[in-house]
C-alpha cells in the first residue's frame, strides 16, 4: 500500500487534549470531532487540511489520555497517515486497532518540512520526500500487528479467536 500526501508539521509531545479537547468528548461522531481536530494548537487546522494530507511530528505524539477520539478526529479530518519520531503508547495501539496508518521514522520527522509532498511505501518501509528527493526508512511493524491489520482490525481478529475457542 502506498500513501501520498502533503505535510502538516507539528512539534514534540503533541497531546491528546490538543488533538481533540475534552470539551468535545461528549460525542464520538467522526465528522464533529474532525471539526475540532488540533484546534487548540491551530484553530484553522480543520479548514486547511485536505483529504490525504500527512501529519509529521516530533517525539511522543499523542501523549496523554486514552481517548480513541484522537485518532478518530485525525482520520475524520482526512489525514491519511501520521509520521513521528515516536508515539505515546496508547495512541500507538489505538491507531493500529482502528486502522489509522502511523509510522515511527525519526529521520523523516526531523528533516521533512511543512508543505512537502511525501510518498509512504508500507511494503518497502520507506518514505520518499517528493519535494526534496530524500528517502527515509521507517521502523518495521511487528508481525502480530501486521496480522491485526490483515484480519481487518482488532475486533475481527478477536472474533476469530472467540469462535475457535467455543
Amino acid at each position: 500500500m502506498k500513501i501520498e500526501g502533503r505535510v502538516w508539521k507539528f512539534g514534540d509531545d503533541v497531546d491528546t487534549d490538543v488533538i481533540i479537547p475534552a470539551r468535545y468528548l461528549n460525542t464520538s461522531d467522526p465528522a464533529e470531532l474532525a471539526r475540532h481536530c488540533m484546534e487548540d494548537l491551530d484553530p484553522e487546522f480543520s479548514g486547511k487540511v485536505s483529504a490525504g494530507d500527512i501529519i509529521v511530528a516530533g517525539k511522543n505524539f499523542g501523549c496523554g489520555s486514552s481517548r480513541e477520539h484522537a485518532p478518530i478526529a485525525i482520520k475524520g479530518a482526512g489525514v491519511s497517515a501520521v509520521v513521528a519520531r515516536s508515539f505515546a503508547r496508547i495512541f500507538y495501539r489505538n491507531s493500529f486497532n482502528m486502522g489509522l496508518p502511523i509510522f515511527e521514522a525519526p529521520e523523516a520527522a526531523e528533516r521533512v518540512n511543512e508543505g512537502d509532498e511525501l510518498m509512504i511505501d508500507m511494503e518497502a518501509g520507506t518514505i520518499t520526500n517528493r519535494t526534496t528527493g530524500d528517502v527515509f526508512t521507517v521502523e518495521p511493524v511487528p508481525r502480530f500487528m501486521r496480522e491485526l491489520i490483515d484480519a481487518g482490525g482488532l475486533m475481527e481478529y478477536m472474533k476469530g479467536r472467540v469462535k475457535r475457542s467455543r
Binding site: D15, P21, R23, E39, S65, S66, M98, K159
Partner: protein, 420 residues
C-alpha cells in the same frame, strides 16, 4: 535470567512460563474498565461485532465519572448508552450516580482490583492499580470492546526501569511530589513504552494513598504501567478491601532492568509542575510570585481521604483568599461520607471553598470549574496540558493537596509553611 514484577504478572496471565521484553502476547484480563467517554465507542463496536454476551459479567466495570452528573444532553445520552448496555448484558459493576466515584479510586476501594491482577481500562490512568502490585494499563475503546468480548488483550511486554526510593520524605512532601520530581527528572517520555517498577528502603514511608498517586502518574512519563512490590502496607489495604483471592508476585533477584534510578526522598521539597507539561517541575522554594484564580483539590490522583485531610490540615482556621475559587471534590461517595463525618466538609465550606459531588469535572475541563482565558489554577490533578482545564489560554499548575490548600489561602502559589 529472572523476571521483573511486570514480566511475571503478564507471563502468568498469558499462560507462559516466561516472557521477554518486546514479546507480543495475548493475556487474560481480570477486569476490563470503561468510562462515559470511552465506553460508548466500545459499546458500538461490541454491538456491531454481533457479540452475544460479555466474557464475564463480573469482570467488566463501567463507571460514568467524567461528565457526570450529566452536564448536558449529549453526556446524558452517553451515560444512558452505558446504563442500557449494562442492563442488557447484566454487567455487575456499573456504578450509577449515588454509587459512582472516580473510577481509579472507586474500583480498588470496592475491592474489584486485587494484587496480582491484570487489568486493562479504556482510560489512560488505569495504571493507578499498580500501587497494589497488579499489572494495569490504559488502552483504547477498541481494546475494551475486544476484551469485553474475548476476555483477552494484546500486550507488548515492556522493558522495566527500576526506581529505588531511599530515605524518608520531609514534612509536606507527599507521593505527588515524589512522582512529579521523577517526571521532572526523566521527562514526559522518560519511560515511554516501559514499566516503572519501584523499590528501595524508603517504601515503608509511602502510604497506600501515595502509591496510588504515584502509579497513577506513570502515564505522565509515557509508561505502560507503574508497579509497587507487595509489602505490609499493601497487605493491610488488601485485607480491608479485597473482594476475592489475590496473588502475590515478586520480582526475581536477577531480573533485568533497562535502567536503575535512585532518589533520596529526604532531600525533596514539595514540587509544582508549571504549564504546559508535567515535566516542568520546580521545588516550591523557587516558584516565585504567581497569583492564581482557582484551586482544585480532587481527581483520581489526589481525591482520597488522606488528600482531603492533608488539605484540611493547612486550611483549619483559615480563609480562602478573596481572589481564589477553591473547589474540593471527594473522589467517591464513601470518601465524601468519611470527610463529612470527620468534619472536613464543614471546614472546607467555612473556609470559603465549595465541595462537589464526586466527578472528574474540572480535571479535564469538563464542568464544575472550567477556566476562562488568562486564568490560572493550582490543581492536585495530573495534567497541565494546553486547555486541559478550559480555555487554551488558561494555565494549570500541578501540586499536592497541602500546597494547593496553602495556595488557596495565599492567593498565589505557596507552600504550607508560608501560611501556617
Amino acid at each position: 535470567m529472572g523476571m521483573t514484577l511486570t514480566e511475571k504478572i503478564i507471563a502468568a496471565h498469558a499462560g507462559l512460563d516466561r516472557v521477554e521484553p518486546g514479546q507480543l502476547v495475548l493475556a487474560g484480563v481480570d477486569l476490563a474498565l470503561g468510562n462515559d467517554i470511552t465506553s460508548p465507542i466500545a459499546i458500538k463496536q461490541f454491538e456491531s461485532a454481533g457479540a452475544g454476551e460479555v466474557f464475564d459479567t463480573g469482570k467488566v466495570a463501567l463507571v460514568p465519572d467524567h461528565f457526570t452528573p450529566n452536564k448536558d444532553i449529549k453526556s446524558a445520552e452517553q451515560v444512558k448508552m452505558m446504563r442500557d448496555f449494562s442492563r442488557k448484558f447484566r454487567i455487575e459493576n456499573f456504578f450509577d450516580i449515588g454509587e459512582m466515584g472516580i473510577e481509579h479510586v472507586l474500583l480498588p476501594d470496592r475491592g474489584l482490583v486485587v494484587p496480582g491482577d491484570l487489568v486493562i481500562g479504556a482510560d489512560s490512568h488505569t495504571c493507578t492499580y499498580g500501587a497494589l502490585c497488579a499489572f494495569s494499563s490504559g488502552v483504547g475503546s477498541t481494546d475494551l470492546a475486544a476484551a469485553m468480548m474475548s476476555g483477552e488483550v494484546w500486550l507488548k511486554v515492556p522493558e522495566s526501569i527500576l526506581f529505588l526510593l531511599e530515605g524518608k520524605p520531609g514534612r509536606w512532601v507527599e507521593g505527588k511530589d515524589i512522582i512529579l520530581y521523577i517526571i521532572g527528572d526523566i521527562g514526559v517520555d522518560g519511560a515511554l513504552y516501559r514499566s516503572m517498577e519501584y523499590g528501595g528502603s524508603g517504601l515503608p514511608h509511602l502510604t497506600m494513598a501515595w502509591r496510588f498517586t504515584m502509579a497513577n502518574m506513570a502515564i505522565e512519563a509515557g509508561a505502560k504501567n507503574g508497579i509497587f512490590p507487595f509489602d505490609a502496607i499493601t497487605r493491610e489495604y488488601t485485607e480491608k478491601h479485597a473482594k476475592r483471592a489475590f496473588r502475590v508476585f515478586e520480582a526475581d533477584g536477577d531480573a533485568r532492568y533497562a535502567d536503575v534510578k535512585t532518589y533520596d526522598l529526604s532531600t525533596l521539597e514539595p514540587q509544582v509542575a508549571f504549564p504546559h507539561l508535567p515535566e516542568n517541575t520546580r521545588p516550591i522554594s523557587s516558584v516565585g510570585n504567581i497569583e492564581i484564580d482557582q484551586v482544585v483539590i480532587g481527581s483520581c490522583t489526589n481525591g482520597r481521604i488522606e488528600d482531603l485531610r492533608s488539605a484540611a490540615e493547612v486550611l483549619r482556621g483559615k480563609r480562602v483568599h478573596g481572589n481564589v475559587r477553591m473547589i474540593v471534590i471527594p473522589a467517591t461517595q464513601e470518601i465524601y461520607l468519611h470527610a463529612l463525618r470527620e468534619g472536613l466538609i464543614e471546614l472546607f465550606v467555612s473556609a470559603g471553598g465549595v465541595v462537589s459531588t464526586p466527578t472528574c469535572g474540572p480535571c479535564l475541563g469538563g464542568h464544575m470549574g472550567v477556566l476562562a482565558e488568562g486564568e490560572r489554577a493550582v490543581a492536585t490533578t495530573n495534567r497541565n496540558f494546553v486547555g486541559r482545564m478550559g480555555h487554551p489560554g488558561s494555565e494549570v499548575y500541578l501540586a499536592n493537596p497541602a500546597v494547593a490548600a496553602a495556595s488557596a489561602v495565599a492567593g498565589r502559589i505557596a507552600g504550607p509553611d508560608e501560611v501556617l
